[in-house]
Symmetry: C2
DNA sequence: TTATTCTCTATCAAATAAGTTGAGAATATG
DNA sequence: CATATTCTCAACTTATTTGATAGAGAATAA
């Protein structure tokens, strides 16, 4: 599961993407629109700023804006930045690879082999969708097949 | 990420699948082969037994065995059983659907729309692979493209 | 020079995860 | 029947992570 913090970060970035090129957006605005605890959002936006995804300015009429065009930021990037990896197990992470604790040898681990595939498929999808892309909303009562 | 417990459960089930039809397998054996703390494994196997995936017998020469043929147990099933869902956010879960805390309306949530797709793709893959399937192991130093 | 807005480190509480303890119940064997 | 063996189960402990807040500080514009 994505942490609450990661979900907040994604929504905050969407909010900024929607206002790209329109000058600084204030934290309080984002917090209200996106229903995020303002104090917590300071932590998140500072993190994103330190990471170079967002620029900021203090003082009156200050705020935040994307440092990178929305078309160059994928959902995969966001999740990797916020939670370190797209993978379901540490040993299947591409960029944050780490041995799983108490596992069998990596080369013998079927779970790992399978999770590498899952990671690849997930990355394929999430790296292809950018913050600038329109996303078809799904009604709340939607039920998929099966 | 999958919890350690879920990973243990998967490996334990693989161990049992490999010995399907060969009589009871003892907990201590599984624990040793799969490098799982034995006491913790009792919790996991009891859970799987209660869930109906595994049968057990006590006493001398007792042990555990799959209650269902390996060909009828998918990795998707296992993960759903152990962690409740395949989804990355509660609101994108098919069987354990739940509103995300502090989110926007579900019908307006782009994250949800995207995560529904991720869930579907993940399910497609993980439901298609069964415990009986051979899985091509991947060498430990493997690096994928990109 | 003051109000505004972001920055950053520390801290806290609650939830979750990982693992252990220990008493108990079923089973096979002699 | 007695005993060793093996699973069962609830309670508990500890460590880690998560979600969130507090509060002092620094930049900026008016």
């Amino acid at each position: 599961m994505l942490s609450q913090k990661t979900r907040y970060a994604i929504r905050a970035m969407q909010d900024l993407a929607d206002r790209y090129g329109q000058g600084p957006v204030q934290l309080a605005e984002i917090a209200e629109r996106q229903n995020i605890p303002p104090k917590f959002l300071t932590v998140i936006l500072s993190e994103l700023t330190r990471f170079g995804l967002v620029d900021s300015q203090r003082g009156r009429d200050g705020g935040y804006w994307l440092a990178i065009a929305p078309v160059d930021i994928s959902y995969g990037d966001l999740i990797r930045i916020m939670r370190g990896s797209l993978a379901l197990v540490p040993c299947a992470s591409r960029f944050a690879h780490e041995k799983c604790k108490n596992c069998v040898a990596e080369g013998d681990c079927r779970t790992r082999a399978l999770m590498l595939e899952v990671r690849d498929r997930t990355a394929e999808l999430l790296d292809a969708v950018k913050l600038s892309d329109p996303i078809a909303l799904v009604p709340a009562d939607h039920e998929t097949s099966e």
